[in-house]
Subunit: 503 residues, 2 copies
Amino acid sequence: MASPLPHVADSALGDAAAALLGDRRLIIATNRGPVTFTVGSSGVPRPRRGSGGLVTALGQVGRHVPVTWVAAAMSEGDRRAAEDPKLLREASGDDSVRLRFASVERSVYEQAYNVIANPFLWFLQHQMWNLPERPIIDASVMRAWERGYVPLNEAFARAVLNQARGDREPRVMLHDYHLYCAAEPIRRARPKAVISHFTHIPWPPSSIWQTIAPPIREGIATGLLANDVVGFQTQRYAHNFLRMVESFVPRAEVDYEGWSVRWRRRTTHVRSYPISIDVEATRRVATSRAARRRADQLLGGTRERVLVRVDRLEPSKNILRGFLAYEALLVRHPRLRGHISFLAFLVPSRTGLKEYGDYGRSVQNAVDRTNARFGRAGWRPIQIFYENDYAQALAGLSIADVVLVNPLVDGMNLVAKEAVVVSERDAVLVLSETAGAYDQMADGAIAVAPADVVGTADALADALAMDPDERRRRLARLRRGVEREDITWWLRRQLEDLATLAT
Amino acid sequence: MASPLPHVADSALGDAAAALLGDRRLIIATNRGPVTFTVGSSGVPRPRRGSGGLVTALGQVGRHVPVTWVAAAMSEGDRRAAEDPKLLREASGDDSVRLRFASVERSVYEQAYNVIANPFLWFLQHQMWNLPERPIIDASVMRAWERGYVPLNEAFARAVLNQARGDREPRVMLHDYHLYCAAEPIRRARPKAVISHFTHIPWPPSSIWQTIAPPIREGIATGLLANDVVGFQTQRYAHNFLRMVESFVPRAEVDYEGWSVRWRRRTTHVRSYPISIDVEATRRVATSRAARRRADQLLGGTRERVLVRVDRLEPSKNILRGFLAYEALLVRHPRLRGHISFLAFLVPSRTGLKEYGDYGRSVQNAVDRTNARFGRAGWRPIQIFYENDYAQALAGLSIADVVLVNPLVDGMNLVAKEAVVVSERDAVLVLSETAGAYDQMADGAIAVAPADVVGTADALADALAMDPDERRRRLARLRRGVEREDITWWLRRQLEDLATLAT
């Protein structure tokens, strides 16, 4: 992978890594890896770079630390590559990131991924259920937990232990909601391993966990307690985890002041590590010639004021109420009509799930209604860009006067951080209090409560009316924050904590 | 109203009342009062007894304490009676409970009741929303808050103050989610008033409040802080309120250990008072000749084992999953088929609301499916009784082997308490952990997580298989608990706390 770039923070990160690792490799485990294999017409699996925020964030790690990265074999190509050291070696490149697969039968994986992780845990942790109707934890869900999710986690543990042969104290970082139960089997085989788990998505309050089957919620809580450090995006989520442990793990001693849990003669530290972006890499894409050209094109198609949002098309992103708020803005501020453009860059997501399809249609209807109600020759109030084009999205953010980030709930939300880094027009950030990012960005953003359409319309009006000095000051403050607390900072703090707390 | 019954706890209650009240009357305020007026063909408003759990519970108060009860004028008859002292006096009877109305224009009341209290706060506090879609806090909701809910609360305050003329320190108990903002205007006029508010429904975690408009959630939090004591059904709800105050009321000092809040140089105590039933009155109805006859009839139509539930037909009661669990029980325990009857006493509720209608149809479909799948000549697996017949419901509970109380979330749930008091067959109680009642009844009930259909089916099987000694022991324990912590205990603790904490 790319060679390390010189960077002020690098030496601190290198020191932290050295203190933790010695001459070991860091073992990272995630569901989706940096490379997936597809079997083309040739019959030979061929590697393709993965995408997604987590892969992008962790892709940085290999620049600083020798890494072995264990991912789930998601495709047939992955499963074949899993058995083929040569293919894996070729795909890994210069050995700074060594690629491995945790492989289970396709049907097992499907149950873990398509019954438990995505429709169940994702919806649960984003509180996206209409509880009187869903979830229904019936025999098929319990079977998918017992014969899908748990075995997949055990396969991850085996793959990790395979990489830790001869090492009684391997260093392992597990990631996200696919791997809540992987630490326990690793811990059983290597009691002195140093293991962390980081949850990228929100951790809801106990009243949500309380609705679901005890074997699942207790499996998750005790599974995580096998780690030395359990990390979350925000202190609120970390607190919710402590309360969950207190509610559902008998005899666990929860120390709220010390942010730790004592259970079965081990201590688990519970911490928050707000994730961030690679500031340099983001700027590189945003200032690329292609992105600049796209920004100019976009600007050519807009009116004086530009409002931008960038989101996966996903119910938790609250896109619908964003458009309702914009409609309310045009109702209450007639002078804006014809003088503002709302560019919405919406990335297709989970298009196979019914909820997502239904949600997409509701969004489209709201857009059509507003465009029909207020649009006129030469002015379309809302323009939708429905594609996965990262450079274009950054180009859009760079020309925004106002960026709307109003999720219902969001582990972190990196768009908010990208926006302040790439802005060229002192964009004002309108940000949900319920986004993890809000905890770091409250002092520069305008806060909104996500269900509050009236309040969001007011916030947009305030943002558009803000005087230039104030805009500049706020953006500068937010930008300094993101530059200081970037992706390297996120990683370094975890490595430092693992070194000091767990060894 | 009824004259006081001799009762062990009465003297303690009388002492508490005397300590708090001196020679004052206790002023109680609730949305729905003990009497409503309807205008019949004669044109003269005629009183009718109210119903509902809250009215029944508070109806007890007048037996022990002289009460002035302020209720909302809900009907045209109420509004006319509000102006007619003679009518009010007649309806009040012997003056132990003096009836008064808080009266606002019909349109104001409609906004408070049909836009804010019932569809908004009730759904919010029971976490019954599909958040990606609802609520949408638009201009009409904000208007209903400002021009409906707040003015109704001010009208309550005026009605209370009218009853407190010449008294600088009136004693006022406000109730439930219709009256979160009534204490503040009372406090302004009578800084030394002793005021409490009790919330009968759940208090959700801050992440739920965080989604809604700041003026509403802050209005509720600061409105409640004008009370001396803010009461909830459980400690969990009380804790959630403390966290809400910390999240949304700047400069409020929250003392989690001391269960209090210091704000604007006043202290508000936050307590839990689990509500209960009038044990004697419940027994009286259950053992009435009519109820006994009905119990015999019901028993004649059942097989060996009898499973019973009693609920308003209401999505938060989780009736649908209850039937799915029963279906799973019949699937997994074929020997039960033909030998068990599930009697479901479902009380019509809010039939005008679309969500309730949709939910009712889903329930009916599930019942029809199970009856069609397993029923045979002479055996219907599920029998529905869709009517409001309290004596019949108690008769049903009295003959149950197993009582299923599995709400998604419930402030308290009095059916669980009624069931253990009236049982004649040592019923086993299967109870949601998410019902407020669970906090008092965990040591006798079998716990279920409400979304866990598999676990609920297992719990029903365990309950049916439980040996007679164990059933008897558990029921006796639960019954002693309810007898000890009855409605008088609920009231006495509040009066005592008001006397010691607030005066």
